[in-house]
Amino acid sequence: MKKTTKRSKKQKKLRIGNFWMAGCIGCLLEIFNVQDGTLDFMDYIDIIDFDLIQEKNIEGPFDVAFVEGAITNKKEEEELRKIRKESKILVALGSCACFGGISGLKNFVRGRPFGTAKPLYKFVKVDYRLRGCPISRKEFIELVKHLKRGLPYRENTSPVCTECPLKGDDCFLKKGIPCMGPITAAGCDAICMKNGQACEGCRGPIPNANISKLFQMFEKFGMKPRDIRKKFRKFAGNAFGE
C-alpha cells in the first residue's frame, strides 16, 4: 500500500483501478486490447489496481475506477461501496454494470430462485457509463481522453440507425427481421449490422425512445409478445420498459 509508482511523480497520469463483479471479464479484456495499437496506453494512465494482472494492488485513492459486472451478493456490494469512497470518478463498464445485462437475466427466472444481479446505480452514484456487450474500445479511449483533460463526457444519444450502413431496402426492418436499432443508443459503429446481424439492443435505450411502436412492429413480424419482451430485456434488463 505504501508503494507508489515512480512514473506518476514525473508526469501527472490518471490513477486507475479496474475491478470486476459478476461478469465475464470481456469488458476489462477490451481495455487490455486497447494496447493493440490505437493509443500508447501507459502514457495516459497508471494502473494501480488491476488484480487480473498484478499482485500488489493499491487500494486507492483512484482518479477513475472502472467497474465491470453486476452486483450479486453482499460482498460485492460492500466492495463497490468501498471503491466509490476511494474514487473521484466511477465508471460503469459494460451492460452488466449499467443495466444488469446478461448476468441480470437470472432476475427474470420465475420466483428468482437464483438470487438477483443488480446494476451498479442501484447502490452507488455512477458518474459515467460505457455501455455495450462488450464495451466499445473507441468510446473507452474517448472517455479516458476527456477525463485526462478534465472535460465532462457526454453519452451518445442518437440511435444505432445513424451509424448503420444498411440503407434503403437493405434495412433489416424493411426485410421483416426484428432489429432494435431505432431505439438503441449508438456508439458501437453498428458493428453487428456490418457483420450481417440485426441489432440486439446491447447498449440500452436512447432517451425518449419510441419503444411501443417498435413493439407493435415486431408483433406484425409475427413475434409473440412474450418473445418480444424477452428480446428487449436480453441485454438491458428493464431499461427498455417492463
Binding site: A22, M42, Q54, E55, V109, C133, N195, K230
Partner: protein, 420 residues
C-alpha cells in the same frame, strides 16, 4: 517456517492473476494436508437457466457471455451442438474458417496467460507492468503475438471479444479475401515470436512434482481443437459423457469426477492423448504428470495454431454461400458437442422442442473439471514445499494454481440439470 506439529490453517486470500476471485484454504496436520479447497466467492450466473425458454438460435450468442476470454470456444461448442441437434453438416469452408477463428481465440488466451499471468512469477516480478522496464521488448513482442490472435477473430468473427458473424450452419458475413491474404502475411511474420516463446518456456521446464491422474481430451489425428472424439487415456466416451463424468453441484461451483477421482483437462491432457502438435517437439523430455509442464505445451500450441492457420488460410478461396438451415424441427431435438477450449475440453449439451425453445441445457467448462484436480494437486504438492518460507510456499502454490490457468467466471456459470 510453516512446519509445526500441530494443526495449521493456511489461507491464501484473493488469488490474483487468474480470471476471477478465489481463495485457497488449506488445513495441515503435521506433514499431512487434511483439506485443500478453492473457495470461490462469485455468485453463480446460471447460464443454463438463462438459455431455457429462449430460441435455440440465441444460445451461441448468450453462452458466449459465460467468459470473455474464451468466448470463441463457447460459441463454437454451442454452434456445433445445435448443428448436431438439427443434423446440419456445415460446408467445408465454414468448418475451416471456424477452425481458424477458434485458434485465434487460443492464441490470444495462451499468450495472455504465458506473458501476463505466468511469466511474472517465474521472473520474480509482481506484474507484467513492472516487468516492462527490464523486459519491455519481450512484452512488446507478446502484445504483437496476442494481437495476431485478436486479428484473426476480428477478421473472421467481427470483433475480438464475443464475435458476431458466426451462425448456426455457416457465417452471416464472410471475411473478404484481401483481409485473409494480409492476415497470412502477418501470421508468417509473427511466427518468429512464437518460436522465441517456446525457447523461453523451455527454460522453466523443471521436474517439480508429479501426480498421475486420468485425463480427458479430444482424440484426433491432426490435433484439431474443434474436432475429435472425447477420450480418456484408454476409452472413448463421446456422448456417453454423463455415464462417466459425475457432476457435483456445490454453491457456487460445479466440480466433476471420473470414476470417483479427479482428472485433468487442458494442454497436458491434449499432449498426453494426441502427442505434440508440432512434430519437432515430439521427443522433448517433459513430465506429462506435472501441471507445471502446461506452460511449455501452451507455447508449442501457439506455434501449432499459427502454422495451421497459415496452412488453412493459404489454401482458401472465399466463396459466397448462405448458412445452411433447417426449417422443420423434430418434436425433440437433442445435440451435444465438445471442443478444446484453451483450458481444456468444453461440453455443451442442449435439448429443444419443435417450436425451437430450449428446455434443457448443460454446460461443463474446463475449469469446473480441473477444480478437483487442483485441490488434489495442492494436497500432494504442499508437503514437498512446507520447509520453505511462508512467502515462498504461497508463491509456489499460486504458481501451481495458475499453471491450470483457471477461469473462475467459467466455473460459476452453472445450474444443476436433471435430464429425463
Amino acid at each position: 517456517m510453516l512446519l509445526v506439529s500441530k494443526m495449521k490453517k493456511i489461507t491464501i486470500d484473493h488469488i490474483c492473476k487468474i480470471y476471477g476471485h478465489a481463495n485457497l484454504a488449506i488445513k495441515v496436520d503435521g506433514k499431512k494436508v487434511q483439506k485443500a479447497e478453492l473457495e470461490i466467492f462469485e455468485s453463480s450466473r446460471y447460464f443454463e437457466s438463462i438459455v431455457k425458454g429462449r430460441s435455440y438460435e440465441e444460445a451461441p450468442e448468450l453462452t458466449s457471455r459465460i467468459c470473455g476470454i474464451c468466448s470463441t470456444a463457447h460459441q463454437m461448442a454451442s454452434l456445433k451442438a445445435m448443428e448436431h441437434a438439427l443434423n446440419i453438416e456445415p460446408s467445408s469452408q465454414t468448418k475451416k474458417l471456424r477452425e481458424v477463428l477458434h485458434m485465434g481465440g487460443i492464441i490470444q488466451s495462451h499468450v495472455f496467460h504465458l506473458y501476463f499471468l505466468a511469466l511474472p512469477d517465474y521472473l520474480g516480478y509482481d506484474s507484467a507492468i513492472q516487468m516492462s522496464k527490464k523486459h519491455g521488448k519481450k512484452l512488446k513482442e507478446a502484445l504483437l503475438l496476442r494481437k495476431i490472435g485478436n486479428d484473426i477473430i476480428t477478421i473472421i468473427g467481427g470483433r475480438p471479444v464475443h464475435p458476431i458473424s458466426c451462425r448456426i450452419g455457416g457465417f452471416d458475413k464472410l471475411p473478404n479475401q484481401d483481409d485473409i491474404n494480409k492476415l497470412v502475411k502477418s501470421l508468417k511474420e509473427k511466427r518468429k515470436i512464437a518460436l522465441k516463446t517456446i525457447e523461453l518456456m523451455k527454460g522453466f521446464l523443471k521436474k517439480e512434482f508429479e501426480r498421475k491422474t486420468e485425463v480427458i481430451a479430444l482424440r484426433n489425428k491432426d490435433h484439431s481443437f474443434i474436432d475429435g472424439v472425447v477420450s480418456t487415456r484408454e476409452k472413448e466416451i463421446e456422448e456417453d459423457y454423463r455415464r462417466y463424468i459425475k457432476e457435483y453441484h456445490g454453491e457456487p461451483k460445479k466440480t466433476t469426477t471420473i470414476e470417483g477421482k479427479s482428472y485433468r483437462v487442458g494442454p497436458l491432457a491434449r499432449f498426453t492423448i494426441n502427442g505434440s502438435p508440432v512434430k519437432k517437439y515430439d521427443k522433448i523430455k517433459l513430465s506429462l504428470d506435472s501441471p507445471f509442464s502446461s506452460n511449455f505445451i501452451r507455447a508449442v500450441e501457439i506455434l501449432y495454431c499459427i502454422d495451421r492457420s497459415i496452412e488453412i488460410l493459404e489454401n482458401i478461396k472465399i466463396k459466397k454461400e448462405a448458412p445452411r438451415e433447417k426449417k422443420r424441427l423434430k418434436n425433440v431435438n437433442e445435440g451435444f458437442a465438445a471442443v478444446e477450449a484453451p483450458r481444456g475440453v468444453l461440453f455443451h449439451h442442449y435439448r429443444f422442442n419443435r417450436h425451437g425453445r430450449v428446455n434443457r441445457a448443460n454446460i461443463i467448462t474446463p475449469t469446473a473439471q480441473n477444480l478437483r484436480s487442483i485441490e488434489d494437486d495442492v494436497k500432494v504438492f504442499l508437503p514437498h514445499i512446507l520447509k520453505k518460507k511462508k512467502k515462498d510456499v504461497v508463491l509456489e502454490l499460486e504458481k501451481l494454481i495458475r499453471a491450470y490457468d483457471p477461469c473462475i467466471s467459467c466455473s460459476t456459470h452453472f445450474l444443476e440439470v436433471r435430464w429425463l
